[in-house]
Amino acid sequence: MRRTIPLVLTFVVGMYPVFAFFVPHNVISNMNQRLDTYLVIVAAFALPLGVVNLVGMNLSKIKQKKSGWPYSIVLLAGLAVMAYFGVVGVITGQYTGFHPTFEDLFEHMVSPLQATMFSLLAFYVASAAYRAFRARNVEATILLIAAIVVMLGRIPFGDMLTGGNMTPLSEWLMDKPNAAAQRGIIIGAALGAASMSIRVILGIETTYLGKGE
């Protein structure tokens, strides 16, 4: 029972979009559009699972005065303030969208934090390139040469250096050998994903359900 019901459901619900892909009839397509929004709702309900865990962990950190506990206060305060201004509109019905403070906090605090964290990548690509692009063997040398050619091809400086030859060369590299390899990986990975999907739909692969009764 406890395993059969979920497996039967996976099969039925999993075959539905496959069916709907080939059957245009409105009876099928209407339901399919509904399912799209329904599952977004299910996913929304999952968020508290994470919130409960995070809050619990940090509260116990503060209680036990574990190292770095003051940072847990910062975390919980940030969470509380942001969540409050996020939901207050819906709860009181006062705002149709977000509380203006919510948008301010996002624009001037969350968004710059995101952007700066993201921008660290500029430094990391540099250090990774320095370390990884060494002509250790044939494969590494190919990797190194392709990288340098494309880097030079992307910047105006490369063309200045070679009389305009770098852009066409790097385009050729992107459009021919790169595209060929990408295509090989795309086809392979898509087949892998399709066979994994079939395993899940048919109930052959069940790790995600947990094994116990």
């Binding site: 019901i5 929304a44 975390l75 940030g78 996020g86 001037h108 934090l113 021919k176």
Partner: protein
């Protein structure tokens, strides 16, 4: 909110930016502060987003409006599935949570499978069928691409030991992969630098310049 000709928000923004950048030197209390604040605020942000952009328009509003119109009562199904997720907390009925997971995973797996077969495998296979007898340089490049696709697919072939001719072909496949990885890496550096420019141009143009010029 105008302090020194620069709004307090710009100061906050600049401070948090510098806190994160300081991690490049080493882990420090400023970074730790920003990181903790970031974790908390971002989760709070998503609580707001999910409530306002998903639950409100897709669940709460339609149910409030009318229970019967447009089959709105069917919305009780995803709601029930969502609530089932919480059964995890009660050991005796924890298995019920699986029902929600089964539906969620089943649906997306079906959708994605069709998308991969229809949108990727078939068109990419089709496009590998290229003319090789037209003469000229294009035919040569077409042959190169075909060899690339075949050799990479052979590299991913698991049923045979990679020895002999298969071994050689899969080696060629690895070369193609290496060209692709190198080229992609080189290509992407630009994207990453753009991000840094965005931050620096904020610090210079919105924060420091106005401070200097008054």
């Amino acid at each position: 909110m105008e302090a020194t000709g620069v709004s307090i928000w710009v100061w906050v923004n600049a401070f948090l930016t510098l806190c994160i950048l300081s991690f490049l030197y080493k882990d420090n209390p400023f970074f730790r502060f920003a990181e903790s604040l970031f974790a908390g605020m971002s989760l709070g942000y998503y609580i707001g987003i999910v409530t306002v952009q998903t639950l409100q328009p897709n669940l709460i509003a339609p149910l409030k409006q009318s229970f019967t119109a447009n089959y709105n009562f069917l919305l009780l199904i995803p709601m029930a599935l969502g609530i089932m997720l919480y059964f995890r907390y009660i050991a005796r009925v924890a298995w019920v949570a699986r029902i929600a997971l089964a539906v969620y995973i089943g649906y997306y797996v079906g959708v994605l499978m069709m998308q991969k077969i229809h949108g990727q495998v078939i068109p990419q296979t089709r496009d590998t069928i290229m003319p090789i007898t037209t003469g000229g340089i294009d035919a040569l490049w077409n042959i190169l691409v075909i060899v690339g696709v075949f050799s990479v697919l052979i590299y991913f072939y698991f049923s045979i030991e990679h020895k002999g001719i298969v071994g050689k072909l899969s080696r060629v496949g690895i070369w193609f992969l290496m060209i692709s990885f190198g080229a992609s890496f080189g290509y992407t550096i630009m994207a990453r630098i753009s991000l840094l420019m965005g931050r620096f141009s904020f610090l210079v143009n919105n924060w420091i310049r106005p401070l200097i010029s008054g």
